[in-house]
Symmetry: C2
């Protein structure tokens, strides 16, 4: 499975599960780039120049880059162009995660899967599970790519539905699901949908803001891939996260603390230092 | 509230809750358009020419157009341009729904809300609820626009999580939620998050494939706006849907049966006829 072999190679080389989130927004760019972003074409260029400099400065100490589509879509087609062109700057020894949180009826999810896994050749994608099997399966069918299903997200709103205790009282005993938190149903169901379980191409998003639950999830799925956001600005703590994760395969995301480490001309160097120091905190 | 007044005006004029889904894909275009779509720029033009012809032929018998972003994103920036430019062809007497099913942590949802409600001036947007309050609230804060939260979707996968019986056993009695299907929690919670309840700018997506549940939902929320997809190819039936909806405010979506009514040169006329006959079946 291409994702896993790439991940193993990267971890051997770099021994660093850092995923840098390219949450690139015009208003956060260093002044000299921000000032130039006055037209659609100039916005594309400014976002791209920033991303290129960040990637060049950090790629040898970074396992993955995560591009959250919201940041690009806010600039419409100009942002999409910046997203597309950024992908070309990511070298082979880094994974690319499209953080799109997509999920729609079967045919539509198919169109999304094709876009991100074929057209853009992303290694991984985040997917929202609310619409169930036929919305997730089109992604899982790309067994060379990793599909990260949202399980227990890093935000406060994760308490609203993901933690509800849920069970299937439909009466069909074969389908009955025991009462447990919704995110555990999501994990179990998603894994049961894998078209080739041995490909292990279903991972999960679990926020660093929930270390106790992360540890519990690791007893459920000790070997599956996790994408762990929420370190830093969102309140997650790296040491507790690493302890809870217990050495299992993961990518730990940091966005703002790395890419906006400096707003000056030294932004790329500062990002490099922040990435280097990530594990040493 | 702008959405509601526009909706009322349209229903007075047209007495037609039809929402036409512009699920426009190159491989489904009439031959003469499909053949031209060989470069990115030509793809934009072909999608746009198709959408323009469909809108011109149907707008006076159509209440709303729904653009599912997946269909446009599959062509990258070229598709986004077609999406953006299509919006300009929708006349004032039709609502525009961006079917994006977005939902992310607070800051990111804010970027999405800004994109769809400000940059693109869409009247309404579909939103995925899995990430909870802070992922939905940034949309609800646009009280002039309608936010359609996914509740009980039209696809088979709606049974996987949306129908699980869920309750909050957290022990904090003030927060306790009674055991009921997850989609009912989603409806109740989303309504409780409205920053200005009187603006009534939270609607729901309920599939036409569940007429009994639609009727039950109408006893819960007799006056809220519903977006009802799933008629036609997905198996929903118009007569049962109208009966279950009990005359309450709604938009009923039809995509393929209208826009692909003919694959020949007469595609626009055929779409018009299909739209005219929608309510007469």
């Amino acid at each position: 499975m291409r994702f896993w072999s790439k991940y193993s190679r990267i971890m051997q080389q770099k021994n660093m599960p850092l995923c840098v989130g390219l949450d690139t927004a015009v208003e956060m760019l260093p002044t000299m780039l921000k000032e130039r972003a006055t037209t659609d074409a100039a916005i594309t260029d400014a976002l791209l120049e920033f991303n290129r400099a960040i990637i060049e400065a950090t790629h040898d100490v970074t396992a993955a880059y995560k591009l959250n589509l919201a940041f690009y879509e806010q600039y419409g087609a100009a942002g999409w162009l910046a997203f597309e062109k950024t992908l070309a700057y990511v070298p082979d020894d880094c994974l690319i995660i499209a953080d799109a949180k997509r999920g729609d009826i079967g045919n539509t999810s198919k169109a999304y899967a094709k876009a991100f896994f074929e057209r853009y050749a992303c290694d991984a994608l985040t997917v929202a599970p609310y619409m169930g099997k036929d919305s997730v399966l089109p992604f899982l069918e790309y067994t060379d790519n990793m599909t990260f299903v949202l399980a227990l997200t890093s935000n406060a709103g994760s308490a609203d539905f993901q933690r509800l205790h849920a069970s299937d009282f439909s009466g069909e005993s074969s389908k009955e699901k025991s009462a447990q938190e919704l995110y555990k149903h999501v994990i179990q169901s998603s894994l049961s949908w894998l078209p080739e379980p041995s490909a292990r191409n279903c991972g999960f998003v679990v926020g660093a803001t929930h270390p106790a639950e992360l540890a519990a999830i690791r007893t459920m799925i000790p070997n599956e891939m996790l994408l762990i956001p929420g370190i830093g600005a969102q309140g997650g703590d790296l040491a507790s996260t690493l302890r809870a994760n217990n050495g299992a395969p993961c990518l730990i995301n940091s966005s703002r603390a790395i890419i906006y480490a400096s707003a000056g001309k030294d932004f790329a160097e500062a990002a490099r230092k922040a990435a280097e120091n990530f594990l040493n905190g």
